[in-house]
Symmetry: D2
Amino acid sequence: MKHLGNRVEDVKIAYVGGGSRGWAWGLMSDLAKAEDMCGTVYLYDIDHDAAKKNEVIGNRIKNVDGCRSPWSYKAVETIDEALAGADFVVISILPGTFDEMESDVHTPEKYGIYQSVGDTSGPGGIIRALRTIPMLEVIAKAVERNCPRAWVINYTNPMTVCMQGLYKAFPKIKAFGCCHEVFGTQKFLAEAAAEMLGIEKPDRSEIKINVLGVNHFTWITKANYMGRDLYPVYKEYCEKHQDGADHQADDNWMNNFFVSAEKVKINLFRRFGYIAAAGDRHLAEFCPGNWFLKDPETVSRWKFALTPVSWRKNDLKERLRKSAELYEGKKEFEIKETGEEGVRQMRALLGLEDMVTNVNIQNRGQIPNLPMGAVVETNARFSADSVEPVFAGEIPPEIYPLVSRICGEQQLISEACAERDLEKAFCAFICDPLVTTIDWADARKLFDEMVDNTKAYLGEYL
Amino acid sequence: MKHLGNRVEDVKIAYVGGGSRGWAWGLMSDLAKAEDMCGTVYLYDIDHDAAKKNEVIGNRIKNVDGCRSPWSYKAVETIDEALAGADFVVISILPGTFDEMESDVHTPEKYGIYQSVGDTSGPGGIIRALRTIPMLEVIAKAVERNCPRAWVINYTNPMTVCMQGLYKAFPKIKAFGCCHEVFGTQKFLAEAAAEMLGIEKPDRSEIKINVLGVNHFTWITKANYMGRDLYPVYKEYCEKHQDGADHQADDNWMNNFFVSAEKVKINLFRRFGYIAAAGDRHLAEFCPGNWFLKDPETVSRWKFALTPVSWRKNDLKERLRKSAELYEGKKEFEIKETGEEGVRQMRALLGLEDMVTNVNIQNRGQIPNLPMGAVVETNARFSADSVEPVFAGEIPPEIYPLVSRICGEQQLISEACAERDLEKAFCAFICDPLVTTIDWADARKLFDEMVDNTKAYLGEYL
Amino acid sequence: MKHLGNRVEDVKIAYVGGGSRGWAWGLMSDLAKAEDMCGTVYLYDIDHDAAKKNEVIGNRIKNVDGCRSPWSYKAVETIDEALAGADFVVISILPGTFDEMESDVHTPEKYGIYQSVGDTSGPGGIIRALRTIPMLEVIAKAVERNCPRAWVINYTNPMTVCMQGLYKAFPKIKAFGCCHEVFGTQKFLAEAAAEMLGIEKPDRSEIKINVLGVNHFTWITKANYMGRDLYPVYKEYCEKHQDGADHQADDNWMNNFFVSAEKVKINLFRRFGYIAAAGDRHLAEFCPGNWFLKDPETVSRWKFALTPVSWRKNDLKERLRKSAELYEGKKEFEIKETGEEGVRQMRALLGLEDMVTNVNIQNRGQIPNLPMGAVVETNARFSADSVEPVFAGEIPPEIYPLVSRICGEQQLISEACAERDLEKAFCAFICDPLVTTIDWADARKLFDEMVDNTKAYLGEYL
Amino acid sequence: MKHLGNRVEDVKIAYVGGGSRGWAWGLMSDLAKAEDMCGTVYLYDIDHDAAKKNEVIGNRIKNVDGCRSPWSYKAVETIDEALAGADFVVISILPGTFDEMESDVHTPEKYGIYQSVGDTSGPGGIIRALRTIPMLEVIAKAVERNCPRAWVINYTNPMTVCMQGLYKAFPKIKAFGCCHEVFGTQKFLAEAAAEMLGIEKPDRSEIKINVLGVNHFTWITKANYMGRDLYPVYKEYCEKHQDGADHQADDNWMNNFFVSAEKVKINLFRRFGYIAAAGDRHLAEFCPGNWFLKDPETVSRWKFALTPVSWRKNDLKERLRKSAELYEGKKEFEIKETGEEGVRQMRALLGLEDMVTNVNIQNRGQIPNLPMGAVVETNARFSADSVEPVFAGEIPPEIYPLVSRICGEQQLISEACAERDLEKAFCAFICDPLVTTIDWADARKLFDEMVDNTKAYLGEYL
């Protein structure tokens, strides 16, 4: 890496999971727009062929209109090659295949447990954590070996447990976890502000917020637009839209598995008085099972959707088709900013720009009433070679019972994974808010079945 | 109060709830045995007649065989008379009547929510808190006015919320809360030790323990008998008695509402690896409703009992009869040590003896991973005019999700009570582990019904 | 205050000490440059005539070339008029006159105690605190009465004690304290970077730092320029310039009381390994008296200067002359940015721009090994209606003995002032690093003499 | 180790420094009185001959009148033999010889620095720490290897640094440090109580106290005798005895190097309002050098004494003579309780008796305003296999500046020792309150000279 005045060259980024047909292309796009930094991205993936394809796709971007920074891409066969001397490491992997995810999401339905995502907490998130953490430990150890001073950005879920896995495997790792769910809520607040104040919809960056909680179960305790406190504004909005906001006419919760009417979020506000800051599909999974996920009818009444894994499998086929087209040059790569902040964060860490945004790191007191050392999500200041949490304050009493148990559950899963201890994982499993709808005996049967379904990835536990 | 060498005379104790036909007699008995302290107990009760009767009963004890300390008893008509210049204040009141308690315990049954006690958490405990805290605030203010340096011992439930109520109403109050549930578990450990080690049953005081948690949901993280770690001993015991310990032949869970087979406690240990330290009837109420309290059959399978309020009403009649007999002199007062520690604690506070025992006070760091300022139960050192917590350590990760939510729920109820805010109380209500078995709409109906049933005591909220 | 798109109008600023001939003009200059905010500044000063003059001076600025924002100025006769409905309150007062300061700075010289500034700690700072805090309490109470939600920016010294005074007098006050000493060190680091790296001198804003400590005794634990760690760079620089940096040719320590050769700072780094971040004149006063302030020769050897109060008195005459010229229109007001951040902070608090900078606020954990609640200086994030500390980390062990005692001394003085307790103040006095060079008896005589000299302002203590 | 009812047999104690002619005999005496425990003491000493002599002396005690517990003593040649399977490890060593101590104590006198003890802080304590910690690390590693679950009791000075050395070398060590200085202050309080209240002198155990600080610079914030607050009593006493208490007629500070008139302690109370709880000789060394140790005349005026190392050398000759007599059987061993608590602590750890007393362990929050992890002295509860701190509260603001710097200095020395870093040690050295009376250059010369004088023991640093 070389700093030349206000530019940085020869930046080395290692992308673990670099065969991705989604996140990887987004990163390529954002890098192509970053005028003041340039270098090489090393793509590593257990599907080496996919990485190879992305190498070809990436290297063509130099020639695309709108490319302002000509990055090189190189697929490598080992993780050590990818990481050797890296300045940044991006981790975005799928642990296992969609077959495992199918078990995670749909097996619990036999016991009356419905999950809208199934990758963070709930029975699905817990089993997913079991197979993910050993993979992240391998990566952390490789970072220690190859580039101990690199900054590591994780996008893999379950975020909280993954981050703890990285920290435990290599305690000096400079790692943080990124997630865009909060951004969605900023946009929703912008929408509410526009409607209630009769103004044009602000950009999400203009909605100033204080964030706190655990990933996907984050809360906004202060929101302000141009000096105006958005709490009373949002309160009125929620009263008006008790039954949900039909904010996306074409793309609503009835025909899109990822869209909701924000009805869960609106009613969590009406009930608890604080702004929940993630998609309704995620929020629902952290609440007691009877509230929003009792059965498909309940889900429908709350106007969000259960994302079936079959949809993901189909979607993957689409993305494979797109990959082939890009690879073969039948289709031109389109450079457009993704709204993700990974590249801006890298620029901040390189000293090119300061920023404050929400990330997942260990609690050093930024949330005083959650345990020290637990992975939490709050704002942090990004500056040259530095990520430091901004003080976020206490979890408000109204939501502390909801949040603290989840924080604790994630900590417990982290320990269970680190110790490869299924019985400890089962302690977390039976306490999960979706699983407490059934009794111990059924929970045991479900757990064993889910472990058995995914045992190809759980050898170290058995 | 006068110290004469190793004796203290003219001690003034104010007993709020001094008409009691149970706790009051126990205290009288223990005081009669306390050779090195003597003085007067002022009995105050909203049922002044009951206090008057206890005055007569108490003053007769001087003449009973075995009385080593001749205390005087005096019923007074106002709380100020009772408290003026008091050295100690004992609070042991019934908030409302058993009719209110009947609503607390049995109204939820219509919605499929069963409670074994109903006085601590769960729907019953929450509603009980609402009517209790305003009473405790009155007492705290009276302490501030009359005897700000007195030590205040509370026995009233719900303990955690009551203590917080006292602290909020008079922040400099020197108050702690006492409960004998942990003693019962020490005895059970003594029993287990006797059986597994083939020794005579030790006295509970010989079972050295480290206690932590919130009242009635306390846990023992270290247990030792004569240098021997009881954890492996208890583990074997629990494996042997998976289906419950029939430890009291005559007096078992089938014919006594207060006795259990400890099967809940045994299986919480087998599942989570830590010793729960309260009666099964209490423990069950803090766990997800589907675990132990799903329905009467489940309760029966777990070998404990639901205490009906009708039993309490009958029992009261018995006690009234006994009171009359004692008052009229038809029956002689029997002095026997109760096993309660109130009198020993007073002696410690007077500088006569040091002791360490478990109490309920605010968290100043004795449990680092629960919120500072929350009321928690751990060991504390009692010495002359001093109660200081002993460091208890973190709530272990396996049980943190269970305990932290309860701690938070109790904090939230405390706020709701202090602010006379029913909506805040309802936030706690719907998050309670017994209530999450139903949905929001039903929870609302139940809450409103329970409030309505007890509205005679909830005027300040309405 | 009105938000109009990206502009804010009708902002109301109250300036307490608004007769100032220095800070006030700086603020006027910076406000004139702030295109996106406009409003009125209410000038309050016990010297009402001075405020009146500044009203005239300020209102002329509209017509000066380069004025981009036409602020109005209005002198008022009472603090309540100034504060009523204020959005911002600026506090910049001189407690007492330079006669009192003369006693603060020079009386200790009789006892062999030399002070280079005498306004923060040391005997002078302590006595100054005694007369300042009652004034700040009056201001805090007026804020509570007139504009409890206003943001209060304090520039008055002794900063740490003043901030604590504001917080104690009105606990909900939204106040922070600003000081430019750290900026000077950023500039010095820029200079060192330029020299050692052979680059052009960077702007101070490009030197990214982590700051921690107490005001005027702050330390930089991380410094980075464009991705380059400045610690090794500064280390080399300090070795090269052990005897001081003659960095300002025309304006050096021999002919200017405010300039030093940074020799103290350089050698604190060489000795303790951390970058001290304030002027040498301040740093010296927090260190043991024998190190840098033993006698005038020692000061001279360390290449900084003792600022005599006579200089300040003369300088005031200069400023009065300039004031008269500006007031009479003989001289035109010159608009130039001051480098102070007050106006940028206001813009951030109005939601116009986010920023991170160093401020003085209470410790909520940003420095975990200093006492919670003590006033400390670290970075904080400024955003819409929000100032939140950024986690700064622990005071490094090498400097903890130096810093913790100062932090404690300032806390103790705060208590002494709040309680108007001279004996408590004397506890701080005898422990001060400059005063420990003499014995208790002499310290007592000195203290009494200094109190007596300034007794016109200490009536509430006597 | 075998528990037989209320007795424990086959206890194995390892005594490192077991050739001692003082502490070792005291322990033997106390063990001989301990009816309910028995076993073997393994004596290890680098002076094996001394250990052998103590073996003989110890084994004779069985036959002495008043011996209630017949312990066996066995000198061993290696530390591993001593520690293998030990239940308790006692550490009481002299680091180096009195020649090194002579340099520690007297070399600084050339620079005008006088020390009354020279073994804890001050220049002597720091140099002593340098040679002691490597020895304690060897012991800690041997504990880890041979008896990782043993309880380790350290008596070696400098206590605070030694404890930190043990914890760093073997983080799971179950170690605490004991010191009797606080007992002396309890006795002095008993004396004051007797005089002022006109009562017979109470036993020190009846003086109930709250202790906090760092070893030898501990403070008592609450003191109570039989329910009576001793603070006002002590205040009157101190006013009466401003010039010192001639409390020991035969054995006063003029003819005994270890006795003082408590004048330092009395006047620290009069000045700061808190009871300092160590001998004046120790207290003086933690205060600024000009206060009590300016020169021998000052010491004399404060009525304590500088203990010359020549005295220790002579005293050693006396003890060698006594050792010979005991060894040869010319003199009978006298069993008398020492007042030390080591044996009672062992009994508590064995489950035979609970107790609360002051010890040196890491701060886990017992003193919230000192750094977590620093070694501090407070009360702790001793119970079966457990030592847990009792919450002691914050260092009061009046004395925080004095105490926090010492706590930090000791932490810094610990780091310097662990890292064998003389430059870091010098950072502590120049900040020490006795050394700040001289300038950096002299401090350097002194430090270098003291290191050179003791270099035989500092090989790992050079």
